[in-house]
Symmetry: C2
């Protein structure tokens, strides 16, 4: 694993509340690849991905190559990834630094006990171990956890 | 942690392919609570949750109580949970036992490298540490990973 920035757990904004994290983990994750995006720094990322945003690449570890069979048939994918730079101990947070706090489970901030992000993306194509998509908003190099076809309950009929 | 059924990693259906799992995990998860549903066994669960399905309860660990502030304002939530009974090594699988195999990332089967399930649910209400919702399909006692407001790209305007 490459080195990542370690969040400073003592740096709270006004009104924010952190808790002691549990003493151990309950389950483990495998990073199945990396996400390549145009955004090198977190502050460069768009606030939310757009279906007409730039093409990003999901680079899949060779171990999982066969699991990509059939992915090219899905017009939309759900992508799960790991926000490895986010602290995990905040229960009340102030993303806008405006003194107003929100419960962590009431917002989609990356700061949460399990910083798993979920995005729905448009498939551009699959070539070897690379899945190209539009609609992501994460920093370049973000660890990939999963991809699966998306069936949004409110989506128009897919032909 | 309570005991769970350990999947048999050698039992492959015709055409299925498993791979050696990585030697270690890349990140760890905290179970933030449990999901209570009417379905005691996996074979009793509906194939997919429905917005008019039975009310299920997300029971949140007291550690995270303050993170629930504001959750009651969200008409729809995304719930992430851990399919702790699913094997993780299959890249080609045959969920219908019909000899036809599919790449793991081309379907939403719980069997995948990181068995994280994602469901969009309708909020019924929040009372103390319990969030009641409709739209889940998992077995009673499933470990909860996260909840956050859902903004589906194709949803009708929420008043």
């Amino acid at each position: 694993m490459r080195a990542v920035a370690v969040p400073d757990m003592t740096d709270l904004r006004p009104g924010e509340v952190g808790v002691d994290l549990p003493g151990g983990y309950d389950a483990g994750l495998y990073f199945i690849g990396r996400i390549r995006t145009p955004w090198a720094r977190r502050e460069d990322c768009p606030r939310r991905g757009a279906p007409d945003g730039p093409v990003c690449r999901l680079e899949i570890d060779p171990r999982w190559a066969q699991a990509l069979e059939g992915v090219s048939d899905a017009p939309r994918l759900q992508v799960l990834y790991w926000m490895d730079r986010a602290r995990r101990d905040l229960v009340l947070q102030s993303p806008k630094r405006d003194g107003a706090t929100r419960g962590t489970f009431s917002i989609r901030s990356p700061v949460r006990p399990n910083p798993i992000a979920s995005s729905v993306v448009e498939l551009v194509g699959v070539e070897g171990l690379v899945v190209s998509v539009r609609g992501l908003d994460c920093v370049d190099g973000t660890p990939l956890l999963d991809l699966k076809p998306e069936y949004c309950a409110f989506a128009p009929e897919v032909p």
